[in-house]
């Protein structure tokens, strides 16, 4: 055999180097994919004594393209013993008008006194509103639509009652801005074996959260012929957190 057969050209040497580099990176890539599972500190259910593993919240947001209307929230996967859950975090907003007593009689006093009186009354209203709870009943539904457009309906495992963070009206007392009550609701929905099997192998394309008076949708259409779907990025986020616990 001629020795020249064993001599590699510059191009071939480059190819081999690239192949070695790629091969050495493969385990790293695999690890990187696994390491996308970010977990919150583990906890223990004080009643059942079972370990609770929870992924970190991952933001999901879906607009209708207009930049005005969108739903914003977060999703996480939860594993408690044998049971698996999907958790959703959403800010449920309510508005309360300025009570009439805040504006009345203020005109009778001088500016400094008015400001003092107004602030005191405003704070009293804020303290009152901070005690107004919002309750998401146990059994509230979460509808999950898969890529083939079939749906799974899962339910909130218990009642969730939360108190609001209250934002005062911005420019009192002359404008009509309301008090803003922001309720951070974080229900978890129990996944049965059917849901676990389906969610393990299929992408989620939209979510519908049922609240007592309305629905929240993750997945909008901005044109009439579009389907109601979340973005590809959001699909991957939802699948990512679920895969970490299923």
């Amino acid at each position: 055999m001629n020795a020249s057969h064993w001599r590699l050209g510059r191009t071939n040497r480059k190819r081999i180097k690239l192949a070695i580099l790629a091969a050495s990176l493969l385990p790293g890539v695999a690890l990187a994919q696994e390491s996308t599972c970010e977990y919150a500190p583990e906890s223990i259910n004080p009643v059942s004594n079972e370990k609770i593993t929870t992924t970190k919240w991952q933001r999901i947001k879906q607009g209708d393209g207009s930049g005005i209307s969108f739903t914003r929230g977060s999703v996480r996967g939860i594993s408690e013993g044998e049971e698996k859950y999907v958790g959703i975090k959403i800010d449920y907003l309510r508005y309360r008008p300025i009570p009439p007593e805040l504006g009345i009689r203020l005109e009778d006093t001088n500016m400094i006194t008015r400001k003092g009186i107004y602030d005191r009354r405003l704070n009293a209203v804020v303290e009152r509103l901070k005690k107004v709870p919002f309750t998401l009943p146990g059994g509230s539904k979460l509808r999950i639509t898969l890529e083939d457009r079939t749906t799974i309906t899962v339910m909130a495992d218990e009642e969730y009652s939360v108190l609001p963070a209250v934002t005062k009206p911005q420019h009192p007392p002359n404008n009509a801005e309301d008090f803003l009550l922001k309720y951070r609701v974080m229900p978890r929905y129990l996944l049965d074996t059917d849901a676990i099997a389906l969610l393990s192998n299929n992408l989620v394309v939209s979510l519908r959260m049922e609240f007592p008076h309305q629905y929240y949708y993750f997945g909008h259409r901005n044109l009439i012929w579009d389907d109601r779907v979340i973005s590809k990025k959001t699909m991957a986020t939802v699948q990512g957190v679920l895969k970490c616990v299923l």
Binding site: D148, R149, T150, I224
Partner: protein, 175 residues
């Protein structure tokens, strides 16, 4: 077969197949999550004449061997949540009546109940009507004039224009 000949044959086959497939656009092209059957859902299309702001959009759906005519439309929904939730419901075995230019009427049915999604004072429904081979054949050949959809409330009527009727046939031909 020589590789060069096989490659050129493949290119020819691809090019001849391209014009037919290019017209078919699908929102869903996947497998069924439970049965593993092929699921094809064409892009939504507006087939009907937009009268008084009411719009009906349609799509052809194929799940394995089964074919469906899917329709989407909305209705004003007011009142409390329960009233809004029930503002637009198409029952199981709900009728869809289609009138053709030869005055014949074709009847399709739903297999299950469909309930509208409520958002922003509207309830929007997506309903599927099953089609057998002869029904699909009629829809591909005859010109459709009107559609009447039976819901739990009032019936919903929609009129088709010439263009819309042709668009519907092209869409259904994709499944």
């Amino acid at each position: 077969m020589r590789p060069a000949l096989a490659a050129s044959l493949a290119v020819v086959m691809f090019l001849t197949a391209l014009p037919a497939n290019a017209k078919c656009k699908f929102n869903v092209d996947t497998v069924h999550s439970r049965t593993g059957e092929k699921v094809l859902w064409t892009k939504w299309n507006t087939f009907t004449l937009v009268i008084k702001g009411k719009v009906l959009v349609g799509s052809g759906l194929s799940i394995g061997d089964k074919k469906y005519f899917a329709l989407r439309f909305d209705r004003h929904a007011s009142g409390n949540k329960a009233e809004r939730d029930s503002a637009l419901v198409i029952p199981a075995n709900g009728k869809l009546l289609m009138k053709f230019d030869d005055q014949s009427i074709l009847e399709l049915h739903t297999e299950e109940e469909f309930t509208g999604d409520v958002e922003g004072g509207k309830s929007e429904i997506v309903a599927r009507y099953v089609m057998d081979a002869s029904t699909l054949n009629s829809l591909l050949k005859k010109r459709i004039m009107n559609i009447r959809i039976r819901t739990t409330g009032a019936d919903e009527d929609f009129a088709f224009g010439k263009k819309g009727a042709k668009k519907m046939q092209k869409t259904l031909a994709c499944i």
